[in-house]
Amino acid sequence: MIQFKEISLAFGDQVVFADFNLNIAEGEKVLLRAASGRGKSTLFKLLLGFQRSDQGEILFKGRRLDRNNLFYFRRNIAYVSQDVDLRNLKVWDLINEIFDYKYNRTISITKEKVMELIDFFLLPADLITKEVGQLSGGERQRLGLIICIMLNRPVWLLDEITTGLDQESKKVLVNYVLKQHKTVLIISHDQIWSKNNLVRVEEW
């Protein structure tokens, strides 16, 4: 479904990728594991077109990432960035804004649905009345995941969404993600993701 083909990328004289290849099949859950600075997050940014590679190409269902297919890539991918960089608004207002974006308007969201997910991921019920700046890191990560779930796009990119969570929350989150019929790319240093046979580990 997703193919990184012979990707090369360097920032100055720091080489991040040299002839990097990766194939991901539909429905696969892939854990990306590499030392810090080896380009895990950059890989997500390449896939979304936020970063260009020096060489190589990226395919999504046979379509090459370029100007014409950029929108196709983005609308098929839900991304949860490492720090869940949301603007400092009330959570509920923010959710409304996100689902008022033109492309997301067809998705119907209700407060009940959001509350259900908030409850499921062991978040406090008053979360939606708080401002993003008041949330803890762990709360923001789960909020990012909830938005990602509601966007209901076929591919998920999850960048460090379990870091700093307690064991119980981690378990709930990991079990939920692995059960989905989605193609999921995971960046995490957490062992919990690989303690099963559902996840393919890619290490470099």
Binding site: R67, L70, S81, D85, Y101, K102, Y103, I147, L151
Partner: protein
């Protein structure tokens, strides 16, 4: 109009009051005297040249010449605004030039035609003075709006990317930064409209009253010019962001600057 003509000698007499400033600076070792001399000399030369120049432009009062002078002022404004952004000077010049010229010329001509009801829209006495006031305000406004907009995106790069992934659409992802930049540009004008006359009489009104115009007439002009400034500054700020954004992002919606 009976304006008291100021003689050169009487201006020079003001220098007597500067002597204590110089003496105190010297005694307290505030190294400012050189700067004061330089600034004063520069002002005298600069304004003398402008005065001579304007006098001949006003005497000729040729519509084409007036228009050419206005264009020159707009070019200088575009250049200053582009330079204040310190990045990509030449790429920004044309978008900024368009952002200056469109609202300013439209508002200026409207003002001359319908507010002052001039027979000659390109009359130097109005076109260059009013045009200069509008332009000066737009310059301040555009420096704020363009700088704010791009700095906010640069400082919140990850936030912008995340929004872009959520929305899939650049315009939507940029909207909050656009809104903040326009507000930052317009707020000072709104504040000055609110307090006008209470703190200080605006320069144009002061000038007109000194020139012998009745305060009530001067006020009418001042109200009209404030409205014109607000409109020109608003559109100029918005257009400056929109036009520069065509140059500022690559085909993947990533900021190039």
């Amino acid at each position: 109009m009976n304006v008291e003509e100021v003689s050169y000698l009487s201006i020079a007499s003001l220098l007597i009051l500067i002597i204590p400033v110089l003496v105190i600076n010297r005694k307290l070792r505030i190294g400012l005297n050189k700067e004061i001399f330089y600034a004063l000399a520069r002002m005298v030369i600069q304004l003398s040249l402008v005065g001579l120049f304007l006098q001949s432009i006003f005497r000729l009062n040729n519509p084409f010449l007036n228009l050419a002078y206005l264009l020159f002022m707009i070019m200088v404004a575009s250049f200053s605004a582009a330079r204040s952004c310190s990045f990509q000077l030449f790429k920004l010049f044309i978008p900024l030039f368009l952002a200056f010229i469109l609202p300013n010329v439209i508002v200026l001509l409207f003002f001359n035609a319908f507010v002052i009801s001039l027979d000659h829209l390109f009359n130097a006495r109005y076109m260059i003075t009013i045009g200069g006031m509008l332009l000066g305000n737009c310059l301040n406004g555009n420096i704020i709006s363009v700088n704010r907009f791009y700095q906010a995106i640069k400082q919140n790069k990850n936030e912008y990317y995340y929004s872009l992934s959520l929305s899939t659409n650049k315009t939507e992802a940029l909207r909050p930064y656009f809104k903040d930049a326009v507000l930052a540009s317009i707020n000072p004008t709104i504040a000055s409209i609110e307090t006008i006359g209470l703190v200080a009489l605006p320069g144009m009104m002061t000038g007109q009253i000194l020139g012998g115009v009745l305060p009530l007439t001067a006020i009418k002009y001042q109200i009209a010019i404030m409205i014109a400034i607000l409109i020109a500054r608003y559109f100029s700020a918005i257009l400056a962001i929109i036009f520069t954004s065509f140059q500022a992002f690559d085909e993947n919606d990533v900021l190039i600057f």
